[in-house]
Amino acid sequence: MNRIGRHLLSIDDLDRASIERILDRAESFDEVSGREIKKVPALRGRTIVNLFYESSTRTSSSFELAAKRLSADVVSIRSQGSAVDKGESLKDTVQTLSAYDPAAIVIRSPHAGAAGLVARWTPAAVINAGDGKREHPTQALLDVFTLRRRLGSLDGANIWIVGDVLHSRVARSDILAFTQMGAKVTVCGPPTLIPREIEALGCEAATTLENLHEADVVYVLRMQQERMRDSFVPSLREYAQRYQITTERLRPGQLLMHPGPVNRGVELSGEAIDSPQALIGAQVRAGVAVRMAVLYELLVGAPSLAAVA
């Protein structure tokens, strides 16, 4: 089998078989993460640069851990306090970092298409760790991983994505990945936060939770405080009244997901977060294994994991 491609910039880069392959690989790495010595030598001697132009806790730590568990040397750069702060352009930063001959650059940027640009400017493999509101492909992969473990398959699953779809890269990557894996996706939120023509991505759109009972999985998005200031919603109170997912609104058997960090009491009630229906902790754990698998598939892509695990 060949590698999945040179870069991971978008879920569109992956067909269903490629996604399955990454997830199968992630299952093996998840086993590694359960060991006392959580390390394999797959990327020993290779360098991975994490370039984060936005604050991020879980994605950056997850990528860093993933690279370290594969024995890579990791350099993590945040825009704050770096040359970026001094006005260096993305192109110059990338070309400078490329001089260290990294095997991969992981980039998070507030702007759509940034990872694609980086891929043009470096010989390294590029992984999109979030580009503006466009995509966050490794989040979608870990979400599919988590669901596949729980459901066996996403085929025919009915998944609702609830909240601020307009500003969510997670929603966009998830819609693409979930539908690619055979699920039916409905996005739901206030009309001000559902983009016009979102149906073109292959989902349905709703503005009330009336039919939430149809969902097998309820995927809740983070509701950011500043959305109120820009009049997308009149108040968090009204938002919570209409869209907060509570244990009362959840039907027994429905699974609950959230990409984090959660605003407790806004998009999710505390009880819902702590309920056994919630897969939020499993998502975080899946993050490391899935990112190990992505790095491995991009940089090694060997047919069998037996040799390394």
Binding site: S89, L90, K91, A112, G113, L117, P195, L201
Partner: protein
């Protein structure tokens, strides 16, 4: 050509063009002709082979090529003064000449803004030294393009302004625009409008639709433009003012324009080659060359624009040539400045994408590309005895890879970059002089 056009004087052309297929819809010409140009003026048109070159004239063999009246672009950004790293009067007019243009009209959103007579006079003075083809200048409607205080429009007109615009920005407040329209009765000059309601366009970077939903990029809805077209047409009607709508991009604006014209309101409009040939689908590449304002819109909008240009509802083609340096455009799409260059590709883009597939007649493209100056009171270029030579020779069979040989413009942010286009300008005569010469077969005058 006009007292409000400025360029560097150079030697009047002494040229015999033989056998070109002359297409000048206004002169009702559509046949092969020899064209004799003496002292920069079209002296004689004759059957092919009927004219002979005077001793001091160069002969250009143009069999198989077309001769069109020179194109006039009512909307270019020459970036001078203040942003000469993007473009200057010399490179901008060289790009225009290479595109077959015999005159262009420059926008005032420079640094400083052309919002008082001293800035305009100094710009005109530079143009008389650097411009390779005639350039006209619009001055700002409001000081610093801020949309509140009017410029000294009457003095600016006296100093040579063709008209007024805050292009790049809308005149947001209806009350301010209304006063400008009233003041037009004193100052004269067409008031040209960039129509955009910033409350609706917000921080949008592309057309609002399925593609923006996919990319998660904030959208600029069509009605950000069309509601302003409707508002300003109403103001123009009420004040009996003369306004020109710049770079219309969507079907809703066309409807508003149609309504205004049907009421007899004195409005005109322009459309850009990129809006006539490309759609927001191109933005999927996230290539910042496809970022312009107004943005590339839907296929439905594109077709409506073509139909409106064909019917004459939209009066003319304008490139909105907007050069930006590479380092400014080599950034993520949302960060990049808006604008595409267009002077060197306008005709070829329309010929390749619209004439060859049968969407528009060649004669209509030629007519609309040379119509933009007349809207500002400039003479219309005509291939007619007695007229100053303003024409271009085009090889309609020649194909070229856009940008492969570089650009005459200082900038290379062309949305047609890398495309194979057909229809290449080989010679441009502007105001009676040779402004551009590509590879053509020519014989120098005999040295006596």
């Amino acid at each position: 050509m006009s007292e409000r056009l400025f360029h560097r004087e150079s030697q009047p052309a002494e040229v015999l063009i033989t056998g070109a297929h002359v297409l000048d819809p206004r002169a009702d010409l559509d046949e092969p002709r020899d064209i004799l140009i003496k002292n920069g003026v079209v002296a004689e048109l004759g059957e092919p082979g009927s004219l002979t070159a005077p001793e001091d004239a160069e002969t250009i063999e143009a069999e198989g090529m077309h001769a069109f009246p020179g194109f006039v672009d009512p909307h270019v950004h020459l970036r001078t003064p203040g942003q000469e790293y993007k473009e200057n009067l010399e490179t901008g007019t060289a790009a225009a000449a290479a595109g077959g243009f015999c005159a262009v009209i420059a926008m005032p959103n420079t640094d400083p803004v052309v919002d008082d007579a001293p800035v305009l006079r100094s710009l005109i003075e530079s143009a008389t030294r650097q411009a390779q083809i005639p350039v006209g200048f619009l001055a700002a409607i409001t000081r610093h393009l801020k949309g509140d205080e009017l410029t000294e429009m009457a003095e600016l007109r006296d100093a040579g302004a063709l008209g007024f615009t805050d292009d790049g920005k809308p005149v947001v407040h209806a009350g301010t625009l209304r006063k400008a329209l009233q003041y037009q009765r004193l100052a004269g000059g067409v008031i040209a409008l960039h129509e955009e309601d910033p409350a609706l366009s917000g921080d949008g970077a592309m057309h609002e639709g399925a593609v923006s939903a996919r990319l998660g990029i904030a959208g600029i809805p069509s009605l950000a433009e069309s509601t302003m077209v409707a508002r300003d047409a109403a103001l123009a009607g009420y004040e009996d003012a003369r306004v020109h709508f710049q770079h219309l991009s969507c079907v809703e604006s066309i409807e508003a324009l149609e309504q205004a014209k049907s009421k007899g309101i004195r409005v005109s409009a322009e459309v850009c080659p990129h809006h006539l040939t490309l759609t927001d689908d191109m933005v999927r590449t996230l290539d910042s060359r496809f970022k312009m304002n107004p943005p590339l819109r839907s296929e439905n909008d594109r077709r409506a624009l073509v139909a409106a240009l064909r019917s004459g509802l939209i009066d003319c083609v304008a490139t909105d040539h907007a050069p930006h340096a590479s380092h400014e455009k080599e950034v993520p799409f949302e960060e990049a400045p808006m604008g595409t260059t267009g002077l060197e590709t306008a005709f070829a883009a329309l010929f390749t994408e619209l004439v060859l597939p049968g969407e528009l007649d060649l004669a209509i493209v030629v007519e609309r590309m040379s119509a933009g100056g007349a809207l500002y009171g400039l003479p219309v270029p005509k291939i007619e005895p007695g007229q100053s030579a303003n024409l271009c020779l085009v090889d309609l069979d020649a194909r070229f890879d856009v940008g492969a040989e570089g650009y005459h413009s200082r900038s290379e942010n062309c949305c047609f970059h890398g495309r194979m286009l057909q229809g290449r300008v080989r010679l441009t005569l502007a105001a009676g002089t040779v402004a551009f010469r590509g590879p053509i077969r020519a014989h120098a005058p005999a040295i006596s």
